[in-house]
Amino acid sequence: MKRKIFFSVICALTIAFASSASAKVKIKFFYPVGVAGPLVKVMNGMVADFEKQNPDIDIEPVYAGNYNQTMQKVQTAVMGGNPPDVAVVEISELYSLLQMDALIPLDGYIQKEGGKAFLKDYFKGFLGNAYGRDGKMYGFPFQRSTPILYWNKDMFKAAAAKLKAVGLDPDRPPQTWDELVAYAKILTIRQGNQTKQYGLIIPGGWDDWIFEAFSRQNGSQLIKSDGLTVTFNTPENLEALKLWVKLMQELKVCPVLRPWNITPDDFIGGVTAMMYYSTGGMAKVRKTAKFNWGAAFQPKHKQYGTPVGGGDFHIFKGIPKKNQDAAWRFIKFMTSPQMAAHWSIESGYVSVNKKGYNLPKMKAFLKKFPQMKVARDQLKYAYPKMMAVNYQLIRNAMTTNLDAALEGQKTPEQALADAQKLMEKAIKGQ
């Protein structure tokens, strides 16, 4: 008898458990952290907020490493027939994901939310990387950034006399390439054969992204918007690369290939007076730098210009419809004004939702840290980032050849020609 009761209790429990489990939609969410800082904690907090408001959905956030590692994890999961439900992937990877037939278009969901009127709330500059060649929308902007110029105001002040002597204003950052060189030269401090302070750091690791900005500033681009025509080897790009080589090899005012993740530490630790870095690193600088610092547009040459960067949300094929619907609700939540503003304040990324900037919380924050406005305002001069299929291979061709030129192993001419050849091959899949 006892046994019978025991079994029936077990059965009842199992059924109750199973039914409650089936009522909840389980969503697997892959996301990267592409910049320095404890953003995993922030992300988990946002996910918990979502679950509180949506008790029928269970999000399993998976921190998948940096952008490269996240893309690898997503690709492998898709190939293995076990895709995540939703993932944030670096924006240039879209065409590769489409080539794998991994994504569903989001147009249906957006239509239901109000179509164009709904998208109007989002910065147009960030939507440029969301569309496939078929004109459908496959990505939704989330952690979006541009590179900007950070400058240490105290170091500028300390060098005021020297800067003034050559007619440079110590109270503002450089605005053109020529000024960039002039400022960097004066702000570099040497002692014997040691460099005590660098004028500038253009970090390695994502140098292809910063290089795309320089290319835009010089009126060129790296790959045309069709995703097929490689324009890496142009006279404008050569001029940009020669400028970099001059800064690193000839003038030695910028260290060669400083690792991406260490660069903010160098800026915070007073190793350099200026750095090019993603806006996504601003929270770390804000919280730990013990000096006055500013953020500015990247200096122009022919024009101001920058690619956007960062990661977009994607919803995957081959998962149940109810998971896709739940994933869309999650995306909508994460890019709502409140959440976009929260993510922006905590990380330094731009709030992709324009309405986020109208919130009192955000206004008060921007009053205290006007540096945070720079990335948003720079969007006026922002272009979509290059996109092409086999992007990992293309990026590898660009970084290895840029690295070789910056280390002085190849001439800039050779590096551009080699990269161009490899990139063309990658796009054709040879």
Binding site: N68, G204, G205, V256, R258, I262, N390, N396, T400, D403
Partner: protein, 293 residues
Amino acid sequence: MTEKLENLKCYLFLFPGLIFLFLFTYIPIFWSVWLSFNRWNLLSPKPRFAGLENFIRLWNDEVFWIVMKNTFAFVTISIFPTMILALIFAILIDERMKGRVYYIYSLFYPTLIPMAAAAMLWVYIYSPNLGILNILLAKFGLPKLGWLGSSKTSLWALIIMTFWKNLGFFMLIYLSGLQNVNRELYEAAYIDGAGWWRRHIQITFPLIGPTSLFVLVVAIILTFRVFDQIQLMTEGGPGNSSNVIVYYIFENGFKFFDWGKANALTAILVVIMLTLTVLIFGIFGKRITYTSD
């Protein structure tokens, strides 16, 4: 008849193990070799027979040769210092030198901490301006180095780190090898008036032969397989200067999604490893003294 039965019994006992060996070792190897003759990448998502195409592409691939050079440099540069120092420390510890416990712990703890933690630790040690290594170099008036950030030093930086990580493991193997050497031999040599060096050259080194052979093979396999620290510390960069064969397989397979090329590289790695193992056992295996009695 009974002998045959015995044999059959042996195979019966081996059978479960063999199943797994086949499923997870031999079948994947043959499958991988077959795939190396196929074109299979992002733009042709179904494997298609392509003959020697992948191998020809590798032959013409500038990076492949850099990777091979780096791999062999990594193996040859790191193995002998590791073996020699591991043996020396093992002998010193075996002879109950002063501070023995301290040496055992400090040499062996790198082996115990996970590679990921060790790699992150060394990323900070190698940090160009804030890392302890460059601060020390500057103290001695030496020029600071780029370490992981420069293609001249990145491979060396990884070799040094790997050396630090593996030393304790090989030391431990040598230490257990030394325990098997008959103490009476040393005593006899001592009475005969042989000095410290002479005792070790004439007794320890020959008798520790089997251990050395084992260490050599394991060290070659371990260093050919380096991957974790490269993924965590340099991602093969800058400009492929620290890229090695296993990392390049990973890059082609999981980053560039060029499975044909990745499998061709795997086939090459398998052939190299087999050849090396056969060669080493062929050359040294016969000359080794296996007993000390």
